[in-house]
């Protein structure tokens, strides 16, 4: 791998998250990735080296955790509390790394990092194998439908690069993946400390024929690259654009007198000029006659582009409307069956009156908890209350019908927030799962 710096004008972007604890060597792995991708600048390295020395790290070694654990409380406690975002680039790609906490009580922050990720790297200590925490991390990424799951089996140097030992750990991890329902995770044996199979494949593991971690990250398709042309078009309307409050500088008022467009970021799929679309909640079919951006009109736009669409008919569209390729709009429902991830100590219970924010709409809802996933056994158990950091299933009755997509089939357009009506805080994540699995 080379890291000739080039600008980001033409490179593609991959967002990935790392999950694991300090004990698994997560900070070392993140530090190693950044270091080997030459993303740590001289003054950062100097600061970290100086602090490492103060903390008793000897002989020029340094505590990689100091690079990523940016909060006072984190450095004092030696743990990651919240997601830290890190940025680096290789010749092939730009990366956004969401470095997530491993501890159970910060699962909400891991969910934050994972929902925007195309890939998640879960770290395991090769000596201990999969732990209860591994089970939790893999369950969360599986339930959140993360496209690419990479399990990095770390500290293989401490196993003496022993192939048989590693195969034993791999078999255990694969069995766990099957139990959890995780399809074909990538397994990579690494040593973050020694740099084996992190940026480059290692001579210490001649029996490993797969790619190094960074090579894999460089070649994985992002969510949009993977699905933009397969998924049906959908756009959640953010606003109606009418230049009545005045025009942008330099525009001719005559030309834009009757301008009207709806704005939004393409949630999924691709829209072309002339495409027929259905509009919720108007229930009307119309045609796209303009795809506008400040740089000029487009002939088509795929996710996640932000655009302004002009429609053939002057129909009732406003913030919260949903546009979808003709015939593909999900059935609007007044009751959602959802998998939920409560975040707060209060958890989620039957009878809770909440707000549901999906796409660009917020509606009132009432929660009925149905079941809880036992993370130790992956079994589903009846429940009326979910505690913080549980995963469970709830029905949410809504004040007005929403056309949410099935998360298992269409990903992000089936995700929503559950918001406390009084504090306004986000108390749970929900994913629309209309059918039992």
């Amino acid at each position: 791998m080379t890291t000739t710096p080039v600008t980001t004008t033409t490179k593609t972007l991959l967002r990935f998250a790392t999950a694991g604890s300090v004990d698994d060597g997560k900070s070392t792995l993140v530090g190693r990735l950044l270091h080997d991708a030459k993303a740590i600048l001289a003054d950062q390295l100097e600061a970290v080296t100086a602090t490492s020395r103060e903390r008793g790290f000897l002989g020029g070694e340094f505590d990689f955790a100091l690079l990523t654990d940016g909060l006072r409380a984190e450095r004092e406690q030696g743990i990651t509390i919240d997601v830290a975002y890190r940025y680096f680039a290789t010749d092939r790609r730009s990366f956004i790394l969401a470095d997530c906490p491993g501890h159970v009580q910060y699962t909400r922050n891991m969910v934050t990092g994972a929902t925007t990720a195309d890939a998640v790297v879960v770290l395991i200590d090769a000596r201990t194998g999969a732990t209860e925490q591994t089970r939790r991390h893999l369950t969360v990424v599986q339930r959140l439908g993360i496209e690419h799951v990479i399990i990095a089996i770390n500290k293989i140097d401490l196993l003496g690069y022993d192939r048989a030992e590693l195969e034993r750990v791999e078999a255990e991890v694969e069995a766990l993946a099957v139990e959890i329902g995780l399809e074909a995770p990538h397994l990579i044996p690494v040593s973050a400390l020694a740099g084996d199979n992190v940026a480059e494949t290692s001579a210490n593991t001649p029996w490993y024929s797969g790619p190094a971690l960074l090579e894999l990250l460089e070649t994985l398709p992002s969510k949009e690259e993977n699905t933009a042309d397969l998924e049906p078009f959908r756009l959640d309307v953010q606003s109606v654009l009418r230049p009545q409050g005045g025009l942008a500088p330099g525009l001719d008022p005559e030309e834009y007198r009757d301008y009207r467009a709806v704005t939004g970021q393409v949630t999924s799929g691709r829209v072309h000029l002339g495409d027929e679309i259905d509009v919720h909640p108007a229930g009307i079919r119309t045609t796209v006659v303009g795809i506008d951006t400040a740089d000029g009109p487009l002939e088509s736009a795929g996710a996640p582009l932000s655009v302004a669409l002009r429609l053939a008919d002057d129909i009732d569209t406003a913030r919260g409307s949903v546009l979808a390729a003709a015939g593909t709009l999900p059935q609007p429902r007044k009751e959602l069956r959802a998998e939920v991830f409560p975040f707060t100590a209060e958890g989620l219970r039957t009878g809770d009156r909440v707000l549901v924010k999906a796409g660009t709409t917020t509606v009132k809802g009432i929660v009925t908890v149905e079941s809880r996933r036992n993370l130790a056994t992956s079994q589903i158990e009846d429940a009326e209350v979910l505690a913080g950091n549980d995963i469970g299933v709830a029905r949410v009755k809504l004040a007005s019908a929403l056309p949410l997509a099935d998360f298992r089939e269409h990903g992000r357009s089936g995700g929503f927030l559950i918001i406390d009506r009084q504090s306004g805080g986000t108390v749970a994540a929900g994913i629309h799962a209309p059918e039992e699995e």
Binding site: P5, V6, T7, T8, T9, K11, T12, L13, L41, A42, D43, Q44, T68, G70, L71, A73, D82, V83, A84, Y85, Y87, R108, N109, T112, T116, S222, Q238, L241, P243, Q244, G245, G246, L247, A248, P249, T263, G264, Q265, R270, D292, T293, A294, D295, G296, P297, L298, E299, S300, P304, L305, S306, K357, R412, G415, F416, L417, G424, G425, T426, A429
Partner: protein, 302 residues
């Protein structure tokens, strides 16, 4: 016209994300305002806002906290830019607070931390419930932790250990009266992304960002402009050097770097191979401690 089905570049994705955020906030908040200093990051946010609402004009105003130690070139650029977009510009002045005794000058003469109170007062007086800023996560390790929509309590404080989860691209800006939300649309841009974007979009910047000759003196390894607010001590020699600024803050806390990069392409080339972070290179305010930014943010700073 774009080429059909070509994968979007990093800049396209980052631009779309920022436009989405700006539109969300404009739609959901009563009275947003954009913090505009004339620095490259706030200029970039303003450019993105213009694109988000095109062909309409930007539906909110600008706010600047003037420390009284700003480069005059920057203030001129600030005023001309506001005028170009036809936007109302409010200015909160640290000098007013010092003049009437609400704030006291610090012994070291820097005014960076003094901005917090005028900022919070201006937010309260303007009734702003959402405040756009140009902070980026790659700038600093505390900023690396902050959400895109970041809640501020009644005192303007940030609680880093209890941040709201931020899921998919659905932002929750709910808050109670007295609280407000800071919004960082270019959170995910790096310094190189910002410069690449400025080059691609041909965005006008204050001339300070490009190499120019200037009278400077060296202090703590940084080049300081001579001026009313940064005067050399007796042992510091004033010389003429070709320099440019990587960040533009106060004259009293922002240093220049030696550079021949006099246009956007050469700046871009320089940034691409830099070995020192922009804040570490040129900001005295961030050299105070490892948690300097976190402490200022908890206090209500940008």
């Amino acid at each position: 016209m774009s080429i059909d089905h070509a994968p979007l570049s990093t800049l396209d994705v980052l631009e779309s994300e920022a436009i989405h955020i700006i539109r969300e906030v404009a739609a959901e908040f009563e009275k947003p305002v954009l913090l505009f200093s004339g620095g490259k990051d706030s200029v970039t946010v303003l450019h993105l806002a213009a694109k988000a609402f095109w062909p309409a004009k930007i539906p909110f105003g600008l706010l600047h906290v003037d420390t009284g130690h700003n480069f005059p070139e920057i203030l001129k650029f600030r005023d001309e830019t506001a005028e170009h977009y036809g936007l109302e510009l409010s200015v909160a002045k640290v000098q007013d607070y010092i003049d009437d005794g609400r704030l006291r000058e610090r012994p070291d003469g820097t005014r960076n931390t003094l901005q917090t109170q005028p900022l919070l007062d201006a937010i309260a007086a303007g009734g702003y419930d959402a405040v756009f800023g140009g902070a980026r996560r790659d700038e600093d390790k505390a900023r690396a932790k902050e959400r895109i929509l970041s809640l501020r309590d009644e005192f303007g404080g940030w609680d880093p250990s209890n941040q709201r989860p931020e899921l998919w691209n659905i932002y929750n800006g709910r808050h109670v009266s007295g609280e407000h939300v800071r919004v960082f649309p270019i959170s995910n841009f790096t310094e190189l992304d910002v410069w690449s974007y400025i080059a691609r979009e041909n965005i006008a910047l204050p001339e300070l960002y490009y190499a120019h000759e200037r009278e400077v003196f060296n202090r703590d390894g940084m080049w300081w402009a001579t001026g009313e607010f940064s005067t050399p001590r007796e042992d510091e020699n004033v010389i003429r050097r070709t320099v440019r600024y990587r960040t533009v803050g106060d004259m009293s806390c922002t240093g220049a770097v030696e550079s021949d990069a006099s246009d956007i392409d050469s700046v871009l080339a320089e940034v691409a191979v830099t070995t020192v972070t922009e804040r570490g290179a040129t900001r005295a305010d961030d050299r105070i401690s490892a948690a300097a930014m976190e402490d200022r943010k908890k206090d209500g700073y940008f």
